[in-house]
C-alpha cells in the first residue's frame, strides 16, 4: 500500500522510474533500489512524526557508531512551513502565500503521472520513453529524475537505495563516520 500515491499512480511512478534508471548488466536500476518507495515516502513525509525530511546524525551505524540516521529530526515551525509548502503546496493558506501561490510536489506528481497516460504501464518501453521525452512533460520529468537520483544514491534511511545496493554498484562506500579513512587510504592510489 503506497503512503501517498494511489495504487494506479504508484504503478505509473514505478514504470516511469524503471525507464529513467533501468538495470544494466546485473546492476540494479531504480526498481531494484526501491526508488518509487523513496519518492512516495517523500510525497507522504508528513504521514510520520517526526516527518521524514532530515535523517538524524551523526552516524548511520554502517561504519560503526549508533544508527542515528534512523531517528529523524523534529522540524521547527519554519522548517515545517517550508516543507509543507514544498510538498503540499500553498493550498490557498495565507501563511503559505506571502509571495503568492506555491504549487507543491504532490500536485505536480498527481498531474505529471496522469499526463503520462492511464495506460502507461501497458504500452511498450519505446512508447513510454516517447511520453517521458515529450516536451509537455519535460518539467515534471526533470523533477522526477532528480528525485530518482536521490532515491538511488542517497542514504537508505530515506527509503531508497535498498541496503546500499546502488552504492555497491558504483563502488561508492557511502557515509564513512565514525571510521573515516586512514591517511594512507587518502594519499595512496
Amino acid at each position: 500500500m503506497p503512503l501517498w500515491c494511489t495504487e494506479q499512480e504508484y504503478r505509473v511512478l514505478a514504470a516511469a522510474c524503471a525507464r529513467l534508471i533501468p538495470p544494466d548488466e546485473g546492476f540494479p536500476g531504480a526498481l531494484e533500489a526501491d526508488v518509487p518507495a523513496y519518492i512516495d515516502g517523500l510525497l507522504g513525509a508528513f504521514a510520520s512524526d517526526p516527518p521524514r525530511i532530515w535523517a538524524g546524525g551523526p552516524t548511520s551505524g554502517r561504519r560503526g557508531g549508533p544508527p542515528g540516521f534512523a531517528r529523524f529530526h523534529t522540524l521547527r515551525p519554519h522548517d515545517e512551513l517550508a516543507w509543507r509548502m514544498r510538498i503540499e503546496g500553498s493550498l490557498g493558506l495565507p501563511e503559505r502565500e506571502f509571495n503568492g501561490p506555491v504549487v507543491g510536489w504532490q500536485q505536480r506528481y498527481r498531474a505529471g503521472l496522469a499526463a503520462l497516460g492511464h495506460d502507461f504501464c501497458e504500452v511498450e518501453g519505446e512508447e513510454q520513453d516517447r511520453r517521458l521525452r515529450d516536451e509537455a512533460n519535460a518539467a515534471f520529468v526533470d523533477l522526477l529524475y532528480g528525485h530518482c537520483c536521490e532515491g538511488m544514491y542517497g542514504a537508505p534511511e530515506y527509503g531508497g537505495n535498498r541496503g546500499g545496493t546502488a552504492w555497491d554498484a558504483i563502488g561508492f562506500p557511502g557515509d564513512s563516520q565514525p571510521r573515516g579513512w586512514s591517511d594512507e587510504e587518502v594519499a595512496g592510489p
Binding site: R19, L20, I21, P22, P23, D24, E25, F27, G29, I53, W54, A55, G56, G57, P58, S60, G68, F69, R76, P77, H78, D79, L81, A82, R86, F98, N99, V102, D129, L132, V141, Y145, G146, C148, C149, M152, Y153, G154, A155, Y158, W167, A169, I170, G171, F172, G174, D175, S176, Q177, P178, R179, G180, W181, S182, D183, E185, V186, A187, G188, P189
Partner: protein
C-alpha cells in the same frame, strides 16, 4: 535586560566577536535567525550530534538553510532587467548557528601584503572602484596569528613562496594529502607552478579538545560530524564557556533601534513571530555581506554606499577526466592550492594589455574533485546509459578539477538592496542582488584557464572543459554566481564620504555599531574571505573591549 553587546549573526565573524568580548568580561547576546544544529541546546559548551555524511540532507534538503521558500533572495544582472529575473537561492551561505563556517571545507588562507594596497601598487581600473584598505597587512598580522590559534589551522609556513610574512608557525602540520591532489600538484610543479598544502581549519592532530579529522570525505557543503573543523565551533564554545554569552537562535533581527548617533538596542522576532526589543550598549553586525546591508537598510540607514560594491569571487572551473580513479570520497575535498595566478607577472601584464586593462589578477587555485553521487547522477542523461556512466564515473571518481577563486573588482552598481515586493516568511523585504562581473574578471579567467588546462593534460586528462561562474554572455552557466564568498557591501575607509565603516568596523555615522564580517572588505583578493574577516572581527572586538590579541 541590556547586554554589553548584541551580536547579530553567529558565523565566523560574530563568533569571534563573542569570544573576544566575553573574555573581556562583557555580557553578549548572540542572535541568529537560523536553527542551532551546532551546539547541544542543553549545554552550549558541548557539541550537538546533528551533522552527518548525508548528501540528501545537506545538498537537497536545505538542512543548513536558508530554505529559499521561506528566506528567498532575488537577483538581476543589471537595473535595466527590471525588478528581478530570479527568485530563490542567491548566495545561500548557511543560515544556521555557526553560519558560513559550518559548510565550508575550511580553507583559510591569509591575504597577501599587496591585497590591502592594490590601487597604490597597480593603479586604478576604469569602471571599477579599486581602493586601498585603511590598514595594512602588518596591522592585521597579530590578529591573523591569534585567530589561527583559536580555530586551529593546519598548514606549512614555508611551502608557499608567495605567502605573506608570518610571526610564527601554523598551530598544526598539514593533514593527509589527497591522492588526486598529489598527482595534480606534481603536474603543476613540473610546469613551473608552486602548489602547497592548503591552510585548513580542520584538525590534523587533536587540538582544542576536538579530534583530528578522519578524512570522512563529506567536507565541503557539510557540517563536520566530529567537529574537527574549528571554525566557528571553537570560538562559540569558548564564548559560552565564560557564562557571559547567551544564544537566541531562530531569532531574526529586524531592526537596529537608533536614536541620533547611538543604537539603544535591537528589535527581534522569534520563530513564533513574537517581537521584543533588547537593549544593547553596543551592536555588532555580523550577518554576512548580503544580510548585513539588508539589516542596515531595514534599520533606515541612508548612507549611499550601504549595500554597494558587492564582490563575489569569479570562479573559473577547469575539469578533466582521466583513465584512473581518484577516490575523491576519501579526504577533505581540497588539500592543495597554488597562488601563482594571484601574482601579476609579465605574462599577466601582457594579457592585461591585450585586453585593454592596466593589470589583472586571478586568484588562488584549488585542486580538488567532486565526490558526491547524487550530484553526479543528475549530470548524466536518463535511460540505459545512466548506470553504466555511474559505474565508470567520468564526472566524479575519474574527474579532477581546478577552481580559481578569481579576484572580483568592486563596482558600485553591484549591490544589495531591498526587493520592492518579495518578502521573507516574517513579512520583511528580502535582499536583492544586482551583479555582473567587470571585464577584468573575464580577462583574468581567459588568461589563466588555458594554463590550468595544460596542467590537467600533463596529468593525463583525456578530456577537459572550462566553465565560469557567473556564466558569461551566451554560456549555459547561470548569471547568478555560485561563489559563497560575498564581500564589500559596507566597505571600510578613512573618509566617511567614500566608505561606510572605519578600519575598526565602526559605522562612521553611529557611535556604537560595529560591522564584523566580510561586508567591510575593500577588495576581494583572490583568497577565501574567512580568515581575513575573522582577523578583522578580532581586531574590531579587541578595540571595543580595550584588550590586546
Amino acid at each position: 535586560m541590556t547586554y554589553d553587546a548584541v551580536i547579530v549573526g553567529s558565523g565566523p565573524g560574530g563568533a569571534t566577536a563573542a569570544d573576544v568580548l566575553t573574555r573581556a568580561g562583557w555580557s553578549v547576546l548572540i542572535v541568529d535567525k537560523g536553527r542551532n544544529h551546532l551546539l547541544d541546546p542543553d549545554d552550549l559548551t558541548r557539541i550537538a550530534g546533528d551533522y552527518s555524511n548525508d548528501e540528501i540532507k545537506f545538498l537537497e534538503r536545505h538542512f543548513l538553510g536558508p530554505d529559499p521558500l521561506i528566506e528567498p533572495r532575488t537577483f538581476r544582472v543589471r537595473d535595466e532587467d527590471g525588478e528581478r529575473t530570479h527568485v530563490g537561492e542567491v548566495n545561500s551561505i548557511p543560515t544556521t548557528v555557526g553560519g558560513g563556517g559550518t559548510h565550508a571545507d575550511g580553507k583559510v588562507p591569509r591575504f597577501r601584503e599587496e591585497d590591502f594596497a592594490l590601487r597604490e601598487t597597480y593603479g586604478p581600473i576604469e569602471g571599477a572602484s579599486v581602493e586601498d584598505w585603511p590598514l595594512d597587512y602588518a596591522a592585521l598580522e597579530a590578529f591573523y596569528a591569534e585567530v589561527e590559534r583559536a580555530i586551529g589551522v593546519a598548514g606549512e609556513a614555508s611551502a608557499n613562496p608567495f605567502a605573506p610574512w608570518r610571526s610564527g608557525p601554523y598551530p598544526m602540520p598539514p593533514g593527509a594529502p589527497m591522492y588526486g591532489a598529489l598527482r595534480s600538484a606534481s603536474a603543476a610543479q613540473a610546469l613551473g607552478l608552486h602548489p602547497y598544502p592548503a591552510p585548513t581549519a580542520a584538525n590534523s592532530v587533536p587540538y582544542d579538545d576536538r579530534p583530528a579529522c578522519n578524512n570522512c570525505g563529506f567536507c565541503a557543503f557539510f557540517g563536520c560530524p566530529i567537529h574537527a573543523k574549528g571554525d566557528p565551533v571553537a570560538l562559540l564554545r569558548r564564548a559560552f564557556s565564560t557564562g557571559r554569552a547567551e544564544l537566541a537562535a531562530e531569532t531574526f533581527c529586524a531592526r537596529i533601534v537608533v536614536q541620533g548617533r547611538r543604537a539603544s538596542g535591537v528589535e527581534l522576532v522569534d520563530a513564533q513571530g513574537a517581537r521584543r526589543t533588547v537593549g544593547a550598549r553596543h551592536v555588532v553586525v555580523a550577518a554576512g555581506a548580503v544580510e548585513t546591508p539588508r539589516l542596515l537598510l531595514l534599520s533606515g540607514m541612508e548612507h549611499p554606499l550601504v549595500g554597494r560594491n558587492l564582490m563575489v569571487h569569479f570562479q573559473t572551473i577547469v575539469i578533466g577526466t582521466f583513465e584512473e580513479r581518484f577516490h575523491t570520497h576519501r579526504g577533505r575535498a581540497v588539500t592543495h592550492v597554488h597562488d601563482d595566478a594571484v601574482i601579476v607577472d609579465d605574462d599577466a601584464r601582457a594579457a592585461a594589455r591585450a585586453a585593454g586593462l592596466p593589470w589583472l589578477r586571478g586568484g588562488m587555485v584549488e585542486h580538488g574533485g567532486p565526490s558526491l553521487p547524487i550530484m553526479e547522477a543528475k549530470l548524466y542523461p536518463w535511460g540505459p546509459t545512466h548506470t553504466r556512466l555511474m559505474r565508470s564515473s567520468p564526472m566524479r571518481d575519474r574527474l579532477w578539477a581546478f577552481t580559481m577563486q578569481g579576484e572580483d573588482l568592486a563596482q558600485p552598481t553591484n549591490r544589495v538592496d531591498l526587493d520592492p515586493s518579495v518578502r521573507d516568511v516574517r513579512g520583511f523585504p528580502v535582499a536583492r542582488v544586482t551583479y555582473r562581473p567587470h571585464r577584468h574578471e573575464e580577462a583574468a579567467s581567459a588568461h589563466h584557464a588555458p594554463r590550468l588546462v595544460r596542467v590537467l593534460e600533463r596529468m593525463g586528462a583525456t578530456w577537459t572543459m572550462v566553465a565560469t561562474s557567473p556564466g558569461l554572455e551566451g554560456s549555459r552557466m547561470s548569471p547568478v554566481p555560485i561563489s559563497r564568498h560575498v564581500m564589500g557591501t559596507t566597505r571600510m575607509g578613512a573618509d566617511p564620504a567614500s566608505s561606510v565603516v572605519d578600519s575598526l568596523g565602526r559605522i562612521h555615522t553611529l557611535d556604537n555599531v560595529v560591522v564584523a564580517d566580510s561586508s567591510v572588505f575593500v577588495t576581494s583578493a583572490g583568497y577565501g574571505p574567512t580568515l581575513t574577516l575573522v582577523a578583522l572581527a578580532a581586531r574590531a572586538a579587541h578595540a571595543l573591549a580595550g584588550t590586546a590579541p
